[in-house]
């Protein structure tokens, strides 16, 4: 190929700056749309599947599978019913179970959810396959009754440091309420490293402490219990008696084979209606439910891309007639017909290439904004890498499509030029 063709294609595009730019923009926007849809899809999928691992079963009061997953893991919706601690204790001691993590929900702190649990959570919970929850500060102290461990985002947003005292508000995991457990301040004992999961937006307290601060609320309304603040922790626990109830709990079975049997056993539990869900199965069901939306979005974004390509084709076709003279001049200089076709193909290739490049920039800029919104709204895991191998493949497909659609006007103009020879009556 002669280098002059590249120069000619470039100059020709520059000569039609406005229309070329509009075409470029329509390609860029559609590319940005496709990439953003793909990236959002990836983000949601990873958010779902990587938030929890090593947990074989999630057990809660009988409700819908998705409901249980959503309110336990993603703070969406709320539990309709609790389960009794007695039931938990019974199942916990099942010979096939390796460990359990109790979860008690319902309270919040300045818009962040309070999760009441025990030290097993920090010991056993894993996210992104193998990752363990780690403390940003020295150690992960969760032993004292009114200690609180906060997620990285909570610490950052509310500017908390170790030793700060915080108050838990009653009854809402999403917003501040008037009902504050102000007589029971908690002391921040550890701040967690960022995980990219719901953990970052959570406030962890001990399950016994949760029970104690609710002693005044046993009938649903505030009814102060006679307490002396000078009481020791041991005395408080004694007054509290035993923990009454839980929202849900995680189960790790001794072997994966036992999981299904265990699930059936829990679902058939006589004393209380329970539901055991395998998180991976539930999450993939959840994902499948959403994937039709993703398919529609993908379809629409490709349609938009085709509209972009159509505007490219129409740009080139619309100039076909006025460029006949130009092609005759090139032929008189010795340009071969295939070089005429190549010139036109190069023009569409350049426009597509820049369109894709601009689209890539746009989608990444847009995504930085979207990511922030997404992580604020939902506690999904999100990855920070902006480019994926699949994106590369998509871009190549888009480039090939651009090249292919540019062939039509290129062939037309080439054939026209071959027919015209040197005599064009304009």
């Amino acid at each position: 190929m002669k280098a002059v063709l590249l120069k000619l294609a470039w100059q020709s595009i520059l000569n039609r700056k406005q229309t070329a730019f509009l075409t470029l923009l329509s390609i860029a926007l559609s590319v940005a749309l496709i990439l953003t849809v793909q990236k959002t899809k990836r983000l949601v999928q990873e958010g779902f599947t990587q938030s929890i691992s090593q947990v074989d079963l999630l057990v809660g009061a009988r409700t819908g599978e998705l409901n249980l997953l959503l309110y336990t893991l993603f703070n969406m919706g709320s539990a309709t019913q609790n389960i009794s601690y007695e039931t938990y204790s019974t199942i916990k001691n099942h010979p096939d179970i390796e460990w359990t993590i109790p979860i008690s929900l319902g309270d919040g702190h300045k818009g962040y959810r309070v999760i009441a649990t025990d030290e097993n959570f920090f010991e056993h919970y894993r996210y992104r396959k193998e990752k363990k929850i780690e403390s940003e500060t020295s150690g992960l102290e969760f032993k004292t009754l009114f200690s609180v461990v906060i997620g990285s985002e909570v610490a950052q947003a509310l500017r908390y440091t170790l030793g700060d005292k915080i108050i838990v508000s009653h009854g809402s995991t999403h917003e501040e309420t008037f009902l504050q457990h102000s007589e029971w301040p908690f002391t921040i004992k550890a701040i967690l490293k960022p995980t990219g999961t719901f953990i970052d937006k959570s406030v962890f307290v001990r399950i016994e402490a949760m029970e104690i601060i609710h002693m005044d609320w046993q009938s649903g309304a505030y009814k102060p219990v006679d307490l002396e603040s000078t009481k020791t922790e041991a005395e408080l626990i004694k007054q509290m008696g035993s923990i009454k109830q839980l929202t849900s709990f995680f189960v790790r079975s001794k072997s994966r084979i036992k999981t299904l049997l265990l699930q059936r056993e829990i679902n058939d539990f006589k004393d209380e209606p329970l539901l055991a869900v395998i998180p991976a199965v539930g999450l993939s069901k959840l994902w499948n439910g959403l994937s039709s939306i993703d398919q529609v979005l993908t379809f629409i974004s490709w349609l938009v891309y085709f509209v972009g390509l159509l505007s490219l084709v129409s740009l080139l076709l619309s100039t076909a007639n006025e460029r006949r003279r130009e092609m005759a001049i090139l032929r008189s200089i010795g340009a071969m017909p295939y070089e005429i076709g190549l010139l036109l193909s190069l023009e569409s290739f350049m426009l597509t290439l820049w369109g894709i490049f601009l689209g890539l920039i746009l989608s990444n800029l847009g995504f930085i904004v979207l990511q922030k919104w997404f992580s604020l709204k939902v506690g999904f895991y999100y990855d920070t890498h902006l480019f994926d191998l699949n994106d590369g493949l998509l871009l190549i497909i888009m480039l090939l499509l651009g090249l292919f659609s540019g062939l039509l006007p290129a062939l037309k103009i080439k054939n026209q030029s071959l027919k015209d020879g040197l005599s064009v009556k304009t």
């Binding site: 130009e326 001049i329 008189s332 200089i333 017909p337 040197l422 005599s423």
Partner: protein, 236 residues
């Protein structure tokens, strides 16, 4: 340099209109005047002579190459290397500057580029020389759309001669010009032809230039020959 024998061309769709060209021989440095009324097939003959159009009967031999023995690709290459072509009007690529337009043929022909570069090594810039001869030095960096028709034709002449092709074909290059500019343009063409020792084929329906050329031929539509001859005085 150029030999044409028994040339007859008929359009595939209009077999009754046949274009006939008398046999002729043209030597290096000579000039040929080709005339005939509008629609007589002058441009068609030039397209054959330039190797763009094939399918004629007879023989065209240029620089000892019989066109019939060349493939379309080889014909394109031959044209790039050996022929400079000047159109009646709209000679220039609108999105290139004057200079880019003039130098464009060099990008399509290695021999012409080599010639041009060798000249520069000898201290002779053909571009400057041509532009001085044609009086367009001041226009080099201009957008071609700002030029007058006369200026455009002179730029086209510079482009035809750049890299010193053996043959210059001019298809009614003066018909878009006014009377004053016509004479001047033809003189410029003759001067350049003399300087670069090229062979000039000049087409016009304006017989007043005929005597300036070494030889002349008339092209006609075979079936309309009588009519054409009778119209001759009007055309002249």
């Amino acid at each position: 340099m150029i030999q044409v024998r028994n040339f007859i061309f008929s359009y595939p769709k209009h077999l009754q209109t046949q274009i006939a060209v008398p046999d002729f021989d043209l030597q290096k440095g000579e000039s040929l005047f080709v005339y005939g009324p509008s629609g007589s097939g002058k441009t068609t003959f030039l397209e054959c002579l330039a190797g763009v159009l094939t399918g004629y009967k007879g023989q065209i031999v240029v620089l000892d190459q019989d066109y019939l023995s060349l493939s379309p690709r080889e014909l394109d290459e031959f044209r790039a290397n050996h022929i400079g072509y000047i159109f009646q009007n709209f000679n220039l690529i609108p999105y290139l500057t004057v200079k880019q337009n003039i130098l464009l043929p060099l990008e399509f022909s290695q021999p012409r580029k080599v010639f041009y570069l060798e000249q520069i090594q000898k201290g002779q810039d053909q571009l400057t020389q041509l532009c001085q001869d044609l009086g367009i030095e001041s226009l080099l960096s201009q957008n071609v759309q700002t030029l007058s028709t006369g200026q455009q034709q002179r730029v086209a002449a510079a482009r035809a001669f750049i890299g010193n092709p053996s043959i210059i074909i001019a298809d009614e290059p003066t018909s878009a010009l006014d009377q004053q500019n016509r004479q001047g343009f033809i003189e410029l063409l003759f001067n350049l032809n003399k300087r670069y020792q090229s062979t000039l084929v000049f087409v016009s329906h304006d017989l007043s230039f005929k005597n300036l050329f070494n030889s002349s031929i008339q092209i006609g539509n075979i079936n309309n020959i009588d009519k054409m001859v009778s119209n001759h005085s009007e055309i002249g």
